[in-house]
Symmetry: none
Subunit: 214 residues, 4 copies
C-alpha cells in the first residue's frame, strides 16, 4: 500500500468509533440549549463536524437520537454514589450533606442537569422515555436517599419519620435547583449560589431531622 497506514488508520479508527459519541455530545448540547423541537438535525451534525446524512448512519431518526442522548448520559453516574453510601462510616447528618453535595457536583453542576430539565420539558411528548428516565434515574436516586435515611434512623441518629416523604423533601430542592439553572437562572441579576443554597437548605432541614436535640 502506498500510504502510512498505521498513523492514518489509527486516526480513522479512533474517529469511526468516536463518531456516535461526538454526535451524542453535540445533540446533548443543542437539545439542552434549545429543546427538542427547536433543535435542527442539521445543526447537530454541523456541531459534530459531519454532514446531515452521517447522523442517519448511527441513529434511525430524531426521536431515536433523543432517546440515545438520554440513555447515554445516565447510566454511569449512579453507580459510584450508591457505593459511597454503603461504605460510609460517619454520622448520618454528614452522610446526608455529603449525598446532596456530591449529587450537585456530579450532576447538577454538569450538563446532566440540562438533561434533567430537558426530560421534564419533553416528558409529555416522549412518555416511554420519561418512564424510563423516571424509573432508572429518579427512582434510583430516591432509593439512595431513602437508604441513607433508614440507616440514620436505625443508628438512632435521625428521628423516626416516614422515609418516603422525607426523601421527597430532600430531593425536591436539588431537582429544583437543576431545573432552575436551565430556566430562570439567567433572569436573575443576583444569581443563586447553589452551594450556599444547598447548605442553607440542609442546615434548616437537619434541625428537623436530627434525633439528639437538647
Amino acid at each position: 500500500m502506498n500510504c502510512p497506514i498505521n498513523k492514518i488508520k489509527g486516526r480513522w479508527e479512533r474517529r469511526k468509533n468516536a463518531r456516535p459519541q461526538e454526535l451524542l455530545a453535540a445533540a446533548l448540547d443543542l437539545f439542552v440549549e434549545r429543546g427538542y423541537a427547536a433543535t435542527r438535525l442539521d445543526d447537530v451534525a454541523g456541531r459534530a463536524g459531519v454532514s446531515k446524512g452521517t447522523l442517519y448512519l448511527y441513529f434511525t431518526n430524531k426521536e431515536d437520537l433523543f432517546k440515545a442522548v438520554i440513555q447515554e448520559h445516565l447510566v454511569p453516574t449512579l453507580g459510584e454514589a450508591e457505593q459511597m453510601i454503603d461504605q460510609y462510616e460517619g454520622h448520618s447528618r454528614d452522610l446526608l450533606r455529603e449525598i446532596v453535595m456530591l449529587w450537585w457536583q456530579r450532576v447538577g453542576d454538569t450538563q446532566l442537569s440540562g438533561l434533567m430539565k430537558l426530560m421534564m420539558a419533553e416528558s409529555g411528548n416522549f412518555p416511554e422515555v420519561a418512564q424510563f428516565y423516571h424509573d432508572e434515574i429518579i427512582m434510583r436516586g430516591n432509593a439512595m436517599v431513602e437508604r441513607a435515611l433508614t440507616r440514620g434512623m436505625a443508628r438512632g441518629e435521625l428521628r423516626k419519620l416516614d422515609t418516603a416523604q422525607v426523601t421527597q423533601v430532600i430531593v425536591a430542592p436539588v431537582l429544583m435547583l437543576m431545573v432552575w439553572k436551565h430556566s430562570f437562572a439567567s433572569c436573575q441579576n443576583k444569581p443563586i449560589s447553589p452551594i450556599a443554597y444547598l447548605n442553607a437548605f440542609i442546615d434548616v432541614l437537619l434541625v428537623g431531622l436530627l434525633a439528639d436535640r437538647a
Copy 2:
C-alpha cells in the same frame, strides 16, 4: 431594572380586553399539554371554535399568543395572597403553612401549574417572557414568603436566619411539585399526594425555623 416590563406590560394590556377568552383558554390548554412547538394554531383555533384566520385578528403571531397566555393568567392570583399576609394575625408558623397550602390550592392545583412548567420548558426560547414571568410572578411570590419570614422574626416567632436563603428553601418544593405534576407524575404508579407531601415538608421545616424550642 433590566427587563422592559413597562413596555411589554403596556403593549400587552392594550388589547387585553379585546382578546376572546376562548382563544386564550384553548391556547393555555394546548401549550400546557403539548409544549410550544408541538401546538398547532389550527388546533388552538379549532378548540376555541373559530377559524384559524380569526386568531390573527387578535394576536400578531404565535409568539404573541404565547405571551398573551402567560400575561393573561398572571395578574389576578397574586393580589389576594399579598393581602392575606398583611392582614394575618396568627402565629407565623401557621401563616407559613397557610401560604404554602393556599399557594397550592390556588395555583398548583390549577392549570396555572402547567403554565409554570411551560415557562420553565420554554424559557430558553423566550428570554424576555421568561424575564417577565420571573420578575412579575416568581419574584413577587418570593417577596411574599420573605415578608412572612421577616414578620415572624420580628415577632420573635422564628429564628433569625438569612430570609432570602430560607425563602428559596420554602419555595423550591412547591415549584417542584408543580413541575412534577406536569412531567413525571404520570410515570408513577403510586402518585404523590401533594397535600401530604407539603405537610410533611412544612413539619420538618418548621422544626428548623421555630424560635421557641424547649
Copy 3:
C-alpha cells in the same frame, strides 16, 4: 362590500370546487407520463397552477393522491357499456365487435389507457390499489365480455366454448394495445393502427367463434 361579489365569487366558487379535479387531472398526466416515483408533487401542483402546499389540503399524501387518481377515473366509464350490452338486439358477432371497438374509443384511445399501464407498472408497490383496480375494473370488464359470449351461445350464434377462457382471449389484445400505446409505441417508426389491428384481430377471431360456418 367594496367589490363586485357576484362575478368574483362565482369564479371563486367554481375554482374552489374544481381544485381537486384540477389536481387529479394534473396528477393523472404526470403519473402516466413519468410513473409514480418519478412524479414530483411540486410538478403536480405546478401543472394544476397551485403551490405545493395546496395539494395537501385535498390529499393526505402522495399515495393518497395516487389512489384518488385511480378511483376518480374508473367509476363512470363502465356503466354505459354494460347498458349497451343488455339492450343490444343484433347479431352477437356484431355485438362483440361493437364492444371491442367501443372499449377502445372510450378507454384505449383516452388517457385512461395510461391509467391501465400505470396500474400494471405500479401494482407491485400498491397491492391494495391493484386489488381494487382488478376487482372493480378488470373483472367487471371481463364480466361484460363474458355476458356477451353467453348471450351469443344461447342464441346459437356462437360455438359453445369455455366462456371464461375465450373472454381472456378477447380481452388480452385490447389490454395489450393499451399498454403498448404507453410503452413501446413510440419506439416504432411505423406505428400500429389500433383500429386496423383490432379489426384484424376480430376478423380472425370470429371465424373461430361463429357457429354457422358453412
Copy 4:
C-alpha cells in the same frame, strides 16, 4: 436505423464479461420485484453479497446497471428459437403452437417475463433502452412469428392474410400474459393457467387461420 444500436451494443459488451453475474442477478430480481425507482443499490449489493462500493467498480451508475441487466438477458434466448423455425418440417399449425408454447416456457415462465414487464413500466423513463429492447427483442420475436406465417401461407397451410397484422394478433396474448403475471396475477384468487389459456387462444385462432376448412 433510428436507434444507436451499434454504439450502445458496443459500449455494453465491452465490459460484459467483467461484470459479476451475482450483481446482475440481484439487480434483476430487485428491479423486477420493486421497479426501478424503488430498488436501492444498497439492497442490490447486499443481495449479491458485496459492498455498495463494489457495485461502482462494475457499473457507472444505477442507470448503467439497469441497462446492463436488460442487455445481459436478451441475447441468448432468441437464437435457438430462430433456428427451430428454420428447421421445422411439420405442419404450420403445429409450428405456430410450438412457437407460442416454447416462447412461454423459455421466457414467460422465467424471470425474463419480469424483464418484459419492467421494460414496459420504465420505457418512458429510459427511451433509448426501450428502443433497444423493442428493436432487438420484440421486433426480432415478431419477425420469427411472421416468418412462420409466411412459411405457412407459402405451403398453402394457412389462409393468405396480412402477416404483419396477424403477427400482432398472435404476439399480443403472450406478451399480455407475461405482463399479467407480474401485475394483477396476485390479485386473482383463481389464477389463470397460462398453458390452458394459451391453448384456448391457439385453438380459437387456428380456426381463423387455417386454409383447409371443409
